[in-house]
Amino acid sequence: MLSRAASSLFWMARYLERAETQARLLDVSLTMALIDVPEDREEQLSVPLLVTGTQAVFQELYKETTPQNLIDFLLLDDRHPASVFSIIGSARDNALHVRGNLSADVWESINLAWMELKELRKKGVTESSASRVFDWTRERSNVFRGAAYGTLLRNDAFNFLRLGTFIERADTTARVLDIRHRMATKSLEGHPTQSFFEWTALLHSLAAFEAYQNTYGHNIEPMNVAELLILKRDVPRSLHACLQEISDLLEQIESGEARRARRLATSLYANIRFGDREYIEERGLHEYLTDFLARIQRITGQIQKDYMGW
């Protein structure tokens, strides 16, 4: 397939995944800001800014870290590329580029999201209507995924699209786990109820709360959480699950001469697949995740070199 089309499909899927995570992150942060003691409120609210690396931009555009400012900035502000509005706009831009490779259902799912978002933006979103918008974002993402799985031919277009999803997902899981795990660990010194909320916030941000309870029961143990989100293959947003997909997809994509991205991904996958929690504990979670993020970025760069002609 066309290199440009592969690139557009890859980024289209990344952006849609990003929009969904952003909604989850913001949702959890706003809830936590309500629960948390007032002095920690700002820290809660800055989590989505930390994960998306947008603190500097936010501070430039808004003075105070209030829930409403955060909603405006991360949902609807078109002055920077990290708002849900900009992200879905970018996804649609990429979708337009590859309309020839998309089924009508997939295209419509994205185009409709964009049209609805433009309407939403006209009305504006307040603290009280925000959760409806988060639900909407998740729903649009699910519709897109359903349309993609239900109607796309299983060819390289589909593979590049999925590659984008899982690269983005691996990246996000690592970032969210890194930041929220640190916060939750710190909270262990405080009130147990507060600490419980911190841990569930981490799990909810990655849609893994039920998965945790199913696997480990009600007691939340820091290392269990790390193990769940890194090593458990059956958790859809775990690093293991993402890397398995990435490595499988690179195996399936017709590759000609290009093998380097495949080698890098397979090697990272092997590390996780045969890794254990003792190693992570020994190395330190933050170190471990920092290394992981660097490797994911190397893989992404190599995918672009190998297939997308950059």
């Binding site: 397939m1 066309l2 290199s3 440009r4 089309a5 592969a6 337009l96 580029h97 309309r99 020839g100 490779n101 998309l102 009508a104 295209w107 419509e108 185009n111 409709l112 049209m115 390289d156 590049f160 994509i253 017709e254 590759s255 000609g256 001469e257 297939y307 997308m308 002609g309």
Partner: protein
């Protein structure tokens, strides 16, 4: 409230009513349906159609407006019906006309027979800015130039079809023909159970067949070349590529090496044999045409000249659809095919002929004056509707550059009931069928019907407020 269908003004052919205001036999099903429809229901269906078109992204950009200001071409719910017998004649006439035009293009780039025979003057061909001297003696597969032609027709008050214009470069609009039909079948499935409407859905398959036949290779790689997503017809380019299952490429996706054209793919370069290009001649290759073009492919022209790639349509077809050449098409048919033209031309006075010019100047208020190079309804004068100021402006234009203009009588385009703010009222329309030339000349029964939504308006172009309708060709006529 049931519908009241307004009847057409006198002296105009109406597609639904005959001259005694009786419903034409081919339109009985349609009229029945209209009479049973409530205005509120139609309005509701129209809203539904708008939402669906927006969702599909069947939008276009108007030049001079904000980019990305996605606009819908208004879609009218009431189809235009063409009887089976009318279509048979149209089809024969279109086939004949396109064959002659392709023969003409071959001739003026090779043997010049028609010029030698004195049917058309050398000056008119060679001095035409659309003539591409570089195309001379280039051998093209099957001697085909215009693989895809869109012929604009109108129905005059005498009930006969006239060719208004030939489009032999990159005619667009076929996606509306297909999407309008899909929309009608979705909104009113019951209608199609009652009327024997001929299908048009096979168009992309026929187009694919035509494009593959444009190369002599057994299994050629075909792509659609688009100027990109800011082009007003981008939706159509993507739509056709998807329907044919071939790649939609932009200039930057292609490159030329050793006079061969390749596309950049995830597995390396892949050679391209046929380019269905929706980019104008001048923008195809910055080395040969407009040096500032970012839409084209450097070296493409050389590759084309070497015969390593086929362009559909060929370069240099614009000379044959020029308004200055148009008056000669009936003669071409006689000259190349030895047949009488089946479809009529609109009588045309040519500014370049002194006698014609003085006729034009004397009758300006009754004529339609068009630029020979113009398109899209721009730069034209409709005499009977023009102000004194406009008339005198055109008079001076004509005197300054007479060869730049032609004039035609003000035609009474036929009308068809159309759902507008005032209810169901007659509006003027035209018809653009698409003719495909490959191993044989083929077309699907139908075309794009454009309708002028303003009362009395004769300008159907979407850039000037025109809309579209589904076009029904009947498979057989009711007795």
């Amino acid at each position: 409230m049931v519908m009241l269908i307004q009847t057409p003004p006198e002296g105009i052919y109406d597609e639904l009513f005959d001259e005694n205001n009786r419903v034409r036999p081919s339109c009985r099903v349609l009229e029945n349906w209209l009479m049973q429809s409530e205005e509120a229901m139609l309005a509701e269906k129209r809203r539904e159609a708008d939402v669906l078109f927006q969702r599909l992204g069947i939008t276009f950009n108007v030049y001079g407006e904000d980019q990305g200001a996605d606009r819908l071409i208004p879609f009218d719910l009431i189809p235009r019906v063409i009887s089976a017998s009318d279509w048979q004649r149209l089809q024969a006439g279109l086939r004949q006309r396109v064959q002659a035009l392709n023969r003409f293009l071959f001739d003026i780039y090779h043997d010049f027979d028609i010029i030698r025979a004195g049917v058309i003057s050398a000056e008119q061909v060679f001095a035409n800015p659309q003539y591409q001297p570089g195309m001379q003696n280039l051998k093209l597969p099957r001697n085909l130039y215009s693989h895809i032609a869109g012929i604009d027709l109108i129905r005059h008050s005498d009930g006969d079809f006239y060719v208004l214009e030939d489009n032999l470069r990159c005619p667009s609009g076929v996606s509306y023909m297909l999407e309008n039909r899909r929309m009608m079948m979705r909104l009113f499935p019951e209608l199609f159970a009652q009327a024997p409407v001929a299908p048009v859905e096979q168009y992309p398959a026929l187009l694919g067949e035509t494009l593959r036949a444009a190369s002599l290779k057994p299994d050629p790689t075909v792509v659609v070349l688009t100027p990109g997503r800011f082009n007003s017809a981008y939706f159509e380019h993507a739509f056709l590529a998807r329907q044919m299952g071939i790649e939609l490429v932009e200039g930057a996706d292609l490159f030329v090496r050793q006079n061969r054209v390749y596309m950049k793919t995830t597995v390396g370069p892949q050679q391209v044999d046929v380019i269905y290009r929706r980019v104008d001649d001048d923008f195809l290759d910055p080395l040969a045409g407009n040096p500032d073009s970012m839409l084209g492919v450097p070296g493409l022209y050389a590759a084309y000249r070497t015969g390593n790639v086929v362009l559909a349509n060929a370069m240099g077809t614009g000379v044959a659809d020029d308004k200055a050449i148009y008056p000669f098409v009936p003669d071409m048919i006689r000259f190349y095919l030895g047949e009488e033209p089946i479809l009529k031309n609109v009588p045309t006075w040519q500014g370049r002929k002194p006698k014609d010019l003085s006729y034009i100047l004397d009758n300006l208020a009754d004529l339609v004056v068009k630029e020979t190079q113009g398109a899209g309804g721009y730069g034209m004068l409709i005499g009977p509707m023009a102000s004194k100021k406009e008339l005198s402006h055109f008079r001076s234009l004509l005197k300054a550059r007479p060869d730049n203009y032609i004039a035609q009588p003000t035609l009474s385009l036929s009308t068809c009931p159309t759902f507008v703010d005032q209810g169901v009222a007659p509006r003027h329309l035209d018809l653009r069928p698409f003719v495909l030339s490959g191993k044989k000349v083929q077309m699907v029964p139908g075309g794009l019907t454009r309708v002028a939504l303003k009362e009395g308006s004769l300008i159907v172009n979407s850039s000037q407020g025109g809309g579209t309708k589904d076009t029904w060709v009947l498979e057989d006529d009711p007795c």
